[in-house]
């Protein structure tokens, strides 16, 4: 490679922005979690989009008092779970800050943008087991963005009393999961909605 071709690559690189903080060689697809959420899937289809400052502002308008963590900006992948050439649904991984560090949740979403299931990719809360119980999961499963939004209390960042009661010993985690679900569905529709009509 000569200097000119390298400079050309660098100039092209300048057109890019909103990068991830980590080197791309460390990127891994959540194949185990996708298989857990869609056991019948034969493959997944990646669709990469950019979460930029404009998208971040839209989230802040739709969900006042909420923001995206800096690691949530940049290029992100939404997966279509495939069985042969047929789409089974979508998988979207999102992170939410908590007092135990980032909680990463793998969301399974149907074609009507309703939550069908979820799995924790990373959750270091001591109450994780409570959040994995079916009673807790049922709070989110089957709901779309509008229905989940009604579960927010008036402060806009915590879950309402009914959800807190369902969460038993893990009310803090219920707040985190709810915020993550809302942002995930919002971003899925804003960024990937048009393209997902094909699947």
């Amino acid at each position: 490679m000569n200097i000119l071709s390298f400079l050309l690559i660098l100039i092209l690189g300048l057109l890019a922005n909103d990068v991830n903080a980590v080197a791309y060689c460390s990127l891994r697809d959540p194949v185990a979690q996708i298989a857990q959420l869609y056991p019948q899937k034969t493959n997944q289809l990646s669709i990469v989009k950019t979460v930029d400052d404009n998208i971040r502002a839209q989230v802040q308008v739709s969900l006042p008092r909420n923001d995206l963590h800096f690691s949530e900006l940049g290029k992100h992948t939404l997966y279509v779970a495939m069985q042969g050439k047929n789409s089974l649904g979508y998988v979207h991984v999102r992170s939410e800050q908590s007092k135990w560090g980032l909680v990463e949740i793998v969301w399974a979403i149907d074609k009507d943008f309703r939550i069908t299931n979820f799995a924790f990719q990373r959750c270091r809360s001591p109450k994780k087991k409570a959040a994995e119980e079916q009673q807790f999961r049922d709070v989110f499963i089957g709901k779309n963005y509008q229905e989940l939004r009604e579960l927010l209390s008036t402060d806009g960042v915590t879950a309402n009393k009914a959800v807190q009661e369902q969460a038993k010993s893990a009310p803090e985690l219920a707040n985190v999961v709810l915020r993550c679900a809302l942002k995930t569905l919002l971003l899925t529709e804003i960024l990937w909605g048009e393209e997902l009509k094909k699947y």
Binding site: F6, L14, A23, N43, S98, G101, Q121
Partner: protein, 325 residues
């Protein structure tokens, strides 16, 4: 290299990848590193500017595979000892870090196939990427190189992931040099879990040193704390002088703050070589502060605990600013 180009041509034959910019990530990655080596009483710098790319290839039935390409223009300034990739302490060169394709479209039990220049699958480094960072798990010192050209079979199956590679042992050269080769592999639990356990092996000949290794690695995360360990035992045969045992162990305690911007770590490394009188012991402490999505500041300090047979105790201070655009 030839194998990589052929693979790229094969992938180009798929009509579904006509739009190359689709599912493409790229970023400009620049860093400046300042090193102070007290034993040599030497201050040096390493500057790197490069392009980091990641591309997913997709078809009608899903992903076919992905490619990673990282090329960096790297400049040394008074850097001693001179790294093997360079000719002098002030040398500069284009360096290929990772450059590989991973075919992932095989059926459930069929392994993914990676071809190109990649980090050899061994120990903690397999699940924690350290390329371009001050954090290090001493892959290169333990195996003879960190990255090599070759082929690997890898897959996540149920609760297990594995990665086995055969590489040419030429390090930055895509060929075997003086009969060099490396067979490396790791099998472990899934890397996103709070408790991760892995077993690795290595059998190779690099730079005329034959090495055999067997290693265990583990990671345990509790809230914002992480405890990591790696133990490797094996033997080296330098230039046919006979096999000598080698032991390497690392323990790391790290803390990640809840906003993920600040990470602290401390490591204790013990290296015991049969051909060496003293057991090498060193501690590393470091931090990484992610000032924004793009800008990262890292600091690290290394102190050798034992007195070496010759020369001063190793003391190394490093600082790095890294910007990804």
């Amino acid at each position: 290299m030839r194998l990589l180009l052929i693979s790229l041509l094969i992938l180009q034959c798929f009509p579904c990848i006509a739009d190359f910019s689709q599912n493409l990530r790229w970023s400009l990655d620049g860093s400046a590193r300042l090193n102070y080596n007290n034993a040599l009483d030497n201050t040096s710098q390493i500057y790197a500017l490069g392009l980091d790319t990641h591309k997913v290839f997709t078809g009608a039935e899903g992903d076919i595979g992905y490619g990673v390409g990282q090329v960096y223009f790297t400049k040394l300034a008074n850097h001693l000892p001179v790294p093997f990739l360079f000719d002098s302490k002030d040398d500069s060169d284009f360096i290929i870090r990772e450059a590989h394709l991973n075919y992932t479209a095989g059926a459930k039990w069929v392994p993914n196939v990676r071809v190109g220049h990649f980090t050899m699958p061994f120990g903690l480094e397999e699940s924690i990427d350290t390329n371009g960072r001050l954090l290090d798990y001493y892959h290169g010192k333990n195996l003879g190189t960190k990255l090599d050209w070759g082929l690997s079979l890898n897959k996540v199956i149920g609760a297990v992931e594995y990665n086995v590679s055969y590489t040419l042992g030429g390090k930055d050269k895509a060929k075997s040099v003086d009969g060099s080769y490396a067979l490396t592999g790791r099998i472990g639990s899934l890397r996103h879990l709070d408790f991760i356990f892995g077993v690795s092996f290595f059998d190779g000949k690099i730079d005329n040193v034959s090495r055999r290794r067997l290693a265990l690695d583990g990671q345990y995360y509790w809230q914002t704390w992480g405890l990591l360990a790696e133990l490797a035992i094996g033997e080296d045969d330098r230039l046919g002088q006979g096999w000598k045992t080698e032991k390497y162990s690392l323990v790391e305690l790290n803390k990640t703050f809840i906003n993920e911007q600040l990470k602290l770590y401390g490591q204790l490394i013990v290296r015991d070589k049969e051909m060496q009188l003293n057991t090498d012991k060193q501690i590393n402490i470091g931090l990484s502060f992610q000032m924004s999505t793009q800008l990262e500041l890292s600091l690290s300090g290394r102190q050798q605990l034992n007195t070496p047979a010759a020369g001063k105790k190793q003391q190394l201070l490093r600082m790095q600013i890294r910007y990804r655009y």
